[in-house]
Amino acid sequence: MNKLITLLLVTTALHAQDVRGIIEEVQRRSHTDSQRYEGTLQVIDNKERVTTKRWTYQRIGSFGESKAVLKFIEPAEVKGIALLIFNQKDRSSDQWMWTPSLQRDRRIAMQDRSTRFFGTDFSFEDLEERDVDQFDYKLLGEEPLNGQACWKIESRPRKTKSSQYTHSHVWVRKDIYAFVQIEGFKNQTLVRRIQYSNFEKIKNIWTAKKFEVLDAARKSRTVMQLEKLEYNIPTKQEDFTLQSLRRSE
């Protein structure tokens, strides 16, 4: 009996290690020192009304230590609005928003991360990087998605990670080690589903060029398409500060 328990424990530990390994591999394969793209964001509400915005995105650093600037470029009414994100290895990210017409930056509080990202179906938390060390993982099994073999993994935020989701289900494509779908839950209720598609190999990295987010409660969708995507481009740390945002006006 004791042997059986010991065997079960060892198997469970190994299993957990395997799952973590999958996520680490996803992280390793997508590792880059920097990134830049232009994105088109379409919010489709429950009455199928569509609003479109465009932004540029720049990142420096990688998982857990990266800094990113997201800046809206269209339409004219929102041009210049920017979001500065400092991802942290051991806790949730720090985020600031810059409003050029007011010449003001505002810090986005931890408590506000669950709110919608400027009327889209993303929340501010969804813009953070999911560092492997901030979650505990459990392999739920294998489940194909869109005809592709995938691992279905449950991730639960650790105590140090403040999250609106009690747990998430993550689908990882077995052939390319890339996330294809993430479902965020609050207890047993689905809050948000993010689907990744239009995979393309850019600088040897399989990259999804289309994200679709569904807000389960509101029944609205947001589709984001990436263009002009580049990795490992020359960037400077000083471009990722509040001062640089202010200067850029």
Binding site: K53, E77, F118, G119
Partner: protein, 850 residues
């Protein structure tokens, strides 16, 4: 019950007008009670509702008085692990300039996190309140209106509205409509939301917030988090539940509530006398009926219960009508009261609908019935004691026994002794009010004896005026004091109250005038608001130099006033450059040495408090008070006391540089501007507006216009005086009509004989007219005398309990003299109808017994 149906109902039907007059006493008292209390309750509830609806699901609110606090406090609050949401707020009221729409409550919130605490959409609705949240945040002209306000004014999404901001009139684009529930239904639905950082610009609040609304994580006791936040933020911050914030409102309107209670009490007391009077008439007229009842075997108890029952029924009917009229009265009074409270206290509330609480209606009904029973009991007891034989005789009935008169006088003298003891020995408020009540009771008890004395005193005068009719009229009063005592008492009470209010109004008026002459002497006042008491908008400090540079301006003094907590209660802190201001004014010193006060005050070594604050909070020179500021707690000694009417809750002067240091606030509410000799006030005013007011919200008051504004604000006491005077006139007319009806009925035989022996109709008329005028005169003399007493108590009440104002006792002689023609005229008018009834009565009927 059978007796009521068989005897009372036919009598009531036959004398419908008199029955209505009987009810009037109760209706009057109950209507004033319900009306004033309902209005007050509704204004208070409107404030609570506004606080609740704006607070949303916030369990705690953090503020630092009216001054606001720096933005970085938000991060300290958000850092508390038990805080689930912390949303900064700026709250202010803007005049919309739209006719009939009044003010718009603007809530500046951070739309990123605010939805954790406040709902802008209706639950379950698929419609977003805001079309595009990013555009709303990106554009500082974004505004979200409540659906109620938008519908009322035909405003749709994406239309522009103009608001008068700190940068002058500015157009805002409606980028959202809130459904009418929760937040959107606050302030009568006149609610708008804008981004908090845009609101900072609009209201000139710099980088400060007014408040932070806090949600606490599930399972955590809000009080625990409150204590943690208090300890983290320091003593300058108030962390409290929204309901506690509403409690401050009760505190600041306490004075108003006391006035309302006293007015209601007097109204009810007057009602009791009208009932007493009316029942006395009824019993006089039904004396024969009572005699027959007794003769056929009805017991004293049955007769007593018949009339007590009548008074109870009259109480119920009168109270019901009084409650209905009170609700109508409240509808008229509530908006006035709301506006008065808003002007005086800068509190934001709109009375949506006037509703009386079931408790208040029950209390009003109970009070009305009780007052009716009290007023009806004595006549009922007298009716029960009627000797059946005497009852069936014709003659005089209303003669008060010597014993009864003596007992009243002894009781009155005893009460006066108690009142004097309360006055001299007691310092507590309970003792003071007990003394007030006792002295009123004693004067009421003494009124029949005094009325008789005065009737005797005026007899020679009446004889001089009309030898026959004058003597008959005066004798009628002398011989039957009970007949007139109720009317005289009611008139005395209502006139006393009117005199009391008038005296207070006059004293406030003259004190405020003196204060304005000595202290409020700048040529111009520049403010960002239409009302100088509204502190929602502020100027930047640098405007001082720009004003000083305008040709003709000799000096511009910045004033930053805000309500601050002193000894746990709010008072108006006025931050000024003390030395500069005092070079121009001559404040009346109550305590302390002015030179020393100015020297130490300008060095930031203490505060100078108003006499009213000293009285309300019992603070005196030398006492060290603690002021909690965002920069920490400061202990400052009171350097002295001066007369200052800036605020009804009391005020204090603090050196502006000290205030700026601790409150981290350099903004200005008002600039006091002195002109160079020979400079034209109007020309400089126009120049200031032209040069500085174009792109800025700015109002320039001349000294005269500000005085007018302040005197209007103090006119509430004059308003109360006129209301009370109207009540007094009504009482005079009703009471005299009733009394004369009894008198004529009582003196049927006497008047009949007068006519039989050749007396002319004109003589009968004049007899009754003179009797009426005599009643009016006696009531007036006693009222003016009692007014002297009530004024004494009112002056002290104002000092002790309401506003801490130390007013001089100034008897309103002009008002008193003006009352003579008014009251005597009313008395005469009231006598016309009874006199005509008397002269048209059949002589045979009048002398049938003979």
């Amino acid at each position: 019950m059978i007796l009521l149906r068989l005897l009372t109902l036919p009598y009531a039907r036959k004398h419908l007008l008199r029955t209505l007059l009987t009810l009037t006493g109760i209706v009057l008292g109950v209507a004033v009670f319900v009306g004033m209390h309902t209005a007050n309750q509704n204004v208070t509830q409107a404030f609570r509702r506004t606080v609740d609806r704006i607070a949303g699901t916030a369990q705690l609110q953090i503020s630092a008085g009216e001054t606001g606090f720096p933005e970085d406090v938000l991060e300290k609050v958000q850092a508390n692990p038990n805080v689930s949401a912390a949303a900064p707020v700026i709250e202010a009221v803007l005049d919309t300039g739209v006719s009939g729409q009044g003010s718009l409550l603007i809530l500046g919130v951070d739309m990123l996190g605010d939805r954790s605490l406040r709902e802008y959409e209706v639950e379950g609705s698929n419609e977003d309140a805001i079309d595009d949240p990013l555009v709303f945040l990106a554009q500082p002209d974004s505004i979200m209106l409540s659906e109620t306000y938008a519908t009322r004014n035909n405003i749709n999404r994406n239309t522009a509205i103009t608001l008068n901001t700190m940068q002058g009139p500015k157009q805002f684009k409606v980028r959202g409509i809130m459904k009418t529930s929760g937040l959107a239904s606050a302030f009568g639905g006149n609610v708008a939301v804008m981004d908090i950082y845009a609101a900072q610009l609009v209201f000139g609040k710099g980088r400060t917030f007014d408040r932070i609304d806090v949600g606490v994580k599930a399972g955590i006791e809000p009080d625990t988090t409150r204590k943690e936040l208090e300890s983290a933020l320091g003593p300058g911050y108030q962390v409290e539940a929204p309901s506690t914030r509403a409690g401050h409102f009760d505190l600041i309107t306490k004075g108003l509530a006391t006035t309302i209670n006293i007015s209601s009490l007097f109204a009810l007391l007057i009602g009791v006398f009208i009932i007493y009077n009316s029942f006395s008439i009824a019993i006089t007229q039904r004396r024969a009926e009572i005699g027959i009842l007794r003769a056929i075997g009805a017991s004293e108890r049955q007769v007593l219960w018949l009339f007590v029952g009548e008074s109870a029924v009259a109480g119920v009917i009168g109270s019901a009508i009084g409650i209905a009229m009170g609700l109508l009265l409240a509808r008229g009074v509530a908006p006035v009261l709301s506006e008065m409270v808003r002007q005086l206290y800068s509190s934001h509330q709109v009375v949506d609908d006037v509703v009386a609480s079931p408790e208040l209606i029950a209390i009003a009904m109970a009070i009305g019935v009780a007052a009716s029973l009290v007023g009806g009991f004595l006549p009922a007891r007298n009716a029960a004691r009627v000797d059946p034989v005497k009852a069936l005789q014709k003659g005089r009935y209303q003669i008060m026994s010597e014993g009864e008169n003596r007992a009243r006088s002894i009781a009155a003298v005893t009460l006066i002794a108690i009142a004097a003891a309360c006055l001299w020995l007691g310092t507590s408020n309970n003792m003071f009010y007990a003394g007030y009540a006792t002295v009123i009771a004693s004067l009421v008890l003494l009124s029949p004896a005094l009325a008789q004395f005065l009737a005797k005193a005026i007899r020679p005068l009446w004889k001089l005026l009309r030898p026959v009719e004058g003597v008959l009229a005066a004798d009628s009063l002398i011989q039957a004091p009970r007949r007139t005592s109720a009317t005289v008492s009611a008139l005395m009470l209502s006139l006393a109250l009117a005199v009391g209010f008038s005296g207070i109004a006059g004293a406030i008026h003259s004190s405020v005038l003196t204060w304005m002459d000595t202290t409020l002497n700048p040529d111009l006042f520049i403010t960002p608001t239409q009302t100088i008491t509204n502190r929602d908008f502020r100027f930047p400090a640098e405007l001082e130099q720009q004003i000083a540079a305008i040709p003709g301006v000799a000096e511009a003094q910045p004033v930053r006033s805000s309500r601050m907590m002193i000894k746990g209660v709010p008072a108006l802190g006025i931050a000024v450059p003390i030395a500069a201001v005092n070079r121009r004014i001559k404040p009346a010193v109550v305590e302390g040495n002015l030179e020393e006060m100015i020297r130490l005050g300008s060095e930031g070594k203490g505060i100078i408090i108003s006499d009213s604050l000293a009285n309300i909070r019992n603070i005196h020179k030398g006492e060290v008070v603690e002021l909690d500021s965002p920069g920490g707690r400061i202990s400052l000694p009171v350097l002295g006391t001066t007369v200052d009417f800036s605020d009804q809750q009391g005020s204090f002067l603090i050196e502006k540089t000290l205030y700026e240091k601790y409150w981290q606030d350099t903004s200005v509410n008002v600039f006091r501007v002195y002109l160079k000799p020979g400079a034209s006030t109007e020309a400089v005013k126009e120049n200031i507006l032209a040069q500085l007011g174009r792109n800025r919200r700015m109002f320039v008051f001349t000294n005269a216009s500000l005085r007018e504004f302040i005197l209007t604000a103090t006119a509430q006491w004059f308003g109360l005086t006129y209301v009370q005077l109207a009540v007094a006139l009504l009482v005079a007319v009703l009471g005299i009509v009733n009394t004369l009806t009894v008198s004529i009925s009582d003196r049927r035989r006497e008047l009949g004989i007068l006519q039989a022996v050749g007396g002319l109709r004109g003589q009968v008329r004049r007899t009754i007219w003179l009797e009426a005028v005599a009643i009016g005169l006696i009531g007036l003399i006693l009222g003016l005398a009692m007014g002297a007493v009530t004024l004494y108590y009112n002056v002290d009440m104002l000092r002790r309990d309401m506003a801490g104002l130390r007013l001089e006792y100034q008897y309103p002689f002009t008002f008193a003299i003006a009352l003579f023609p008014v009251i005597l005229g009313c008395a005469f008018l009231a006598s016309i109808w009874p006199a005509e009834t008397a002269v048209r009565r059949s002589l045979v009927e009048s002398l049938e017994y003979e």
